[in-house]
Amino acid sequence: MTDLALSKPVATADAATRRASVLRRFSLTDAVFRNVTRASAILVLVMLGGVIISLIEGALPAIRAFGFGFLASESWNPVTEKFGALSPIYGTLVTSAIAMLIATPIGIGVAIFLTEICPPRLRRPIGVAIELLAGIPSIIYGIWGLFVFAPFLQTTLQPFLISTFGNVPGLQTLFAGPPYGIGILTAGIVLAIMVLPFVASISRDVFETVPSVLKEAAYGVGCTKWEVVRKVVIPYTRIGVIGGFMLGLGRALGETMAVTFVIGNAHKISGSILAPGTTISASIANEFTEADGALYTASLIELGLILFGITFVVLAISRLMLMRIEKKKG
């Protein structure tokens, strides 16, 4: 082998230059690939920056015209071009509050069922089914809410609420008015069904991070299942559960289609949760393409900016909390 190489010195020089050129090509492609991937990662940050800048730019006419009064005004009049964000913000917050009020206990219940009492053989199929619920597009919830769920509520739950609480002082205004079917309450319940899988699957994931030694120790001193959950699992995973709650809240606040179908789109603040209202996302979805006049469009974009701001903060808090529980696990 050595002889062969020595007998052909030309070939060796050839091989050396070839190797050098291959190495050069290697380091070049490596540098290119490295920088292309890094540019893509940075592009994610650019996207976020672009969203914020373009929304501010688009909202500028409305910000100039209304200032901070935009946040405090309830009027929404395309004819006189007087716009205020109060009623969409109110609707967004109230529907999300109803959704979380319903979805959180049920979601945590599902997680407790999956981690503590479900037979192992059913654990995966049920978990997958709940996750599939999360994958259904929101427009499906919307059409189902409009044609199936709202008429159902109109004839069952809503008359019941009105007849039960309609004469109770204090609750009177909350449950006043005719049963429309659609309205704030319906939107809240549909949202609850939508965010339930998120709360449930994240709670399940964080419940599974509890070391079995801790649970076994509690069972060992004679705790019941509920006591183990209440005194060991939930305290241990509190941050993660709150993180899951915030993630669900972020989803609920920004959800568009499911709400747009069933909220009724009325730009007014009503004391009754049975009355129609509107949310930020529903207003944008309903009115944006029909908005004529720069101020109208700009007002809707400013609504979008406000929504993005709120959800960004909520989701950021959620991430920070979930990161803490991941650190605990790893």
């Binding site: 991937t37 893509s40 994958g135």
Partner: protein
């Protein structure tokens, strides 16, 4: 003994409530699917796939909307997947542990759940307004922005699962980093990467909000990417809210089609992912 009884009773109550919660969740899934199949099947015929959306009263189909949805999903995935894949590669391979990666991961997780209607407004501002008209391309770009975080997240997770020893072995043979990633890490994580893309398609194919004011809608057959294009979600939105029975029927059928597509995609993605973990 009475304390013991009380504890047992309380345990039974709360465990019962938990089981009830799980039952309720499953019942909801069942109710929604049942309503979809019940209402959707009634209008499912050949005409859905062979005819265009028609004015109320005529027998129409969803052909142009199905076509438009496929086209825009394709554009979104074609643009979004490479970006997400490359960014995820940087985060799991080159930049592991750096500050940039921590920040990008944080922002990406927020974008993953950010309201999609805001993405629609963004694309309206940067594309539709500049170009002066709604277009299928704008719709595709809006979907791409939703695809990126999904693909990025799964790519990073899946590449992090590839054992370091595999990379070290390849490096020891003298392969440069770029080739190690392309020929070793990507191959080892292939199933996971595919799962990410499938999940992204599932996520995007039902998105309505970002298309409302980017692609808009179109009553007619159009293959012009530079013009408004019909798409299933927006057609469902408009038809469902119309007072016409035959339009509402088409909306239900469209909803059934989308749900079947999304559920199939997510189940296939799961099967692929679980097959990988079994190995």
């Amino acid at each position: 003994m009475s304390l013991y009884e009380a504890r047992k009773r309380r345990n039974a109550i709360y465990m019962g409530l938990s089981a009830g919660a799980a039952g309720l969740g499953l019942l909801m899934l069942f109710l929604i699917l049942f309503a979809l199949v019940w209402n959707g099947l009634a209008g499912l015929g050949l005409n859905v796939f062979t005819q265009m959306t028609s004015p109320p009263g005529g027998t129409g189909g969803l052909l142009n909307a199905i076509y438009g949805s496929l086209v825009m999903t394709f554009i979104g995935v074609a643009i979004g997947t490479p970006v997400g894949l490359l960014a995820g590669t940087y985060m799991a391979e080159y930049g592991r542990g750096t500050k940039l990666v921590t920040v990008v991961r944080f922002i990406n997780d927020i974008l993953l759940s950010a309201p999609s209607i805001v993405i629609g407004l963004f694309v309206y501002e940067v594309m539709v307004r500049r170009m002066g008209h709604f277009s299928a391309v704008a719709g595709g770009v809006a979907l791409a922005i939703i695809v990126v975080p999904v693909v990025l997240r799964t790519t990073e997770d899946m590449l992090l699962l590839v054992p370091g020893a595999l990379r070290e072995a390849a490096s020891a043979l003298g392969l440069p980093r770029a080739l190690v990633i392309r020929h070793i890490a990507y191959k080892a994580a292939r199933a996971g990467l595919l799962t990410g893309v499938l999940l992204a398609i599932a996520r995007v194919s039902g998105e309505t909000a970002p298309l409302l004011f980017t692609a808009l809608n179109n009553q007619f057959w159009s293959t012009d990417l530079n013009a408004p294009m019909a798409n299933l979600p927006v057609v469902i939105f408009q038809f469902a809210l119309s007072p016409y029975k035959d339009w509402q029927q088409l909306a239900w059928t469209g909803a059934l089609l989308i749900t079947l597509a999304v559920l199939t995609l997510s189940i296939v993605a799961r099967v692929i992912a679980s097959r990988r973990t079994l190995k």
